[in-house]
Symmetry: C2
Subunit: 323 residues, 2 copies
Amino acid sequence: MLVECVANFSEGRRPEVVAAIVEAARAPGVSVLDASADADHHRSVVTFAGEGAAVAEGAFRAVAVAVAQIDLRQHRGTHPRIGAADVVPFVPLGDTPMAYCVALAESVGARIAAELNVPVYLYGDAARRPARRELPRVRRGEFEGLRARMADPAGRPDFGPAAPHPTAGAVAVGARPALIAFNVWLATPEVSVADAVARAVRGSSGGLVGVRALPMDTARRGQMQVSMNLVDFRRTPMPAALEMVRREAARFGVAVAGSEVVGMVPLAALLASAQYYLQAHELTTAQVLELQLLDLAAVEPAAAGERTADGRRDGGQSAESGV
Amino acid sequence: MLVECVANFSEGRRPEVVAAIVEAARAPGVSVLDASADADHHRSVVTFAGEGAAVAEGAFRAVAVAVAQIDLRQHRGTHPRIGAADVVPFVPLGDTPMAYCVALAESVGARIAAELNVPVYLYGDAARRPARRELPRVRRGEFEGLRARMADPAGRPDFGPAAPHPTAGAVAVGARPALIAFNVWLATPEVSVADAVARAVRGSSGGLVGVRALPMDTARRGQMQVSMNLVDFRRTPMPAALEMVRREAARFGVAVAGSEVVGMVPLAALLASAQYYLQAHELTTAQVLELQLLDLAAVEPAAAGERTADGRRDGGQSAESGV
């Protein structure tokens, strides 16, 4: 069960602390994919992945280091936060079900509360209260407002004491789908077109439910960008977003000049894009050579002679026969 | 270095012989992906894959069993053949270079000649003479014509004796790109449209160089099929074939109703299709989460604090921030 964790910590200025957090996350079996710190936000993001149990262990260790080394009473940055270890989401990779990541969030959350004495809010797909599905609502009032909030029964954490940790605040632990940062360039120098397209496409103004979009003036001569986040690519996939951008831009006589994926993209999102555009409605990942090889256990070759070749079933036979 | 072998044997009627060949191919580290036998062709195809050395060993063992158990003097089928083990192509998977498969073909070919005393022709990308690049020319005259052919210097095998093995004939060992069996349905009941489209698309009649195409009347009501083999998907990719079919069909007012991939497809072909249609001109496989995980050695995460997050570089940061 492959899982990714994209953990956010309230430390972006002391490289040695960020490095200690990254080293803690690198538990046996964990692969650290990215680590970045932002001084203005005073915040860092560590992305790591592997088998669920290993990633859960890495997440707990990283949180423990952050709790020990970050004092939020001294913390001033531009980014909202409730804790030293602020947000710990588990993201399913490959065929891993969301329910598995919900279970990881619950067990890591309970452990953080029990062993580190830090209160934990469950959010996203792991939320136990509807109001906690969206992260901004979980973070409302920030670190400084936690004590007052926890005094209200509606503000009680899901695990741990009903009072903030004196220096580390609280942690939001959750589960969510992988997010895709997908930007599309429009062949126009007019920012007004990009603005109109972004407004038409994004969910918050009546467009696609899983899409956030903003117009961006990038450094490309004669082109504007619609910068999107796809927050649930299985429900609102990349082709749906691209084709809506294309259609809305065409209303202004503007074409799509290209696109880019910023950072990582799940394999499933690319395979779904190929399937969509190739119109290969019944294509399955079981047909992908390398994927079948990498999961040898799933390979159940037909017994020899059981199946009759129809001359098309096997690509190789066609190859050596010459169609 | 992942490699696939799609070996063709001149036995399609005795299941126990096909089973013995399959078992021989299943050398340590080899994964048998498919095995099928055709009684009319009197032929079977065994597809197996793994690391190059393991696949080479499996190929040799399978050929040895075929040489021992198949007597071509008794063999009558509808499919042309020159040997008991007829064709043994090595196909690069993933990032494996073709040159690696050429080297495998040469070493397995030399071993077949030395240990089994069967003459070997190198074909495809492994061919040492231009006339041997195309398999039909290597197989011309079939088993029955081998002795006369080998008497001519131009017909000498690349390895082994200049005379056919009495019962096993000769073997064509080679290297070639993965072949994709890609069929497109047209929303028309008119076979004449599918025929015209297939003729326009296939290389042999002036279309795309890497495409073989035939019209097919499948069981789908109101639809005809253009049945294609893409013999070199890196040069002539799936989108090139599909879009040419679409354009040619549109000349008759006919739309594409869907497509199918028969059998296996290389991951690279699907990723290239996604990249093409998403217009993500600079997308790389290094951005695919699961692929980076599977090749841990290739992962070189930036040292913590070295890179400043720009709020877009890392999908997770955007996710937890809320664009």
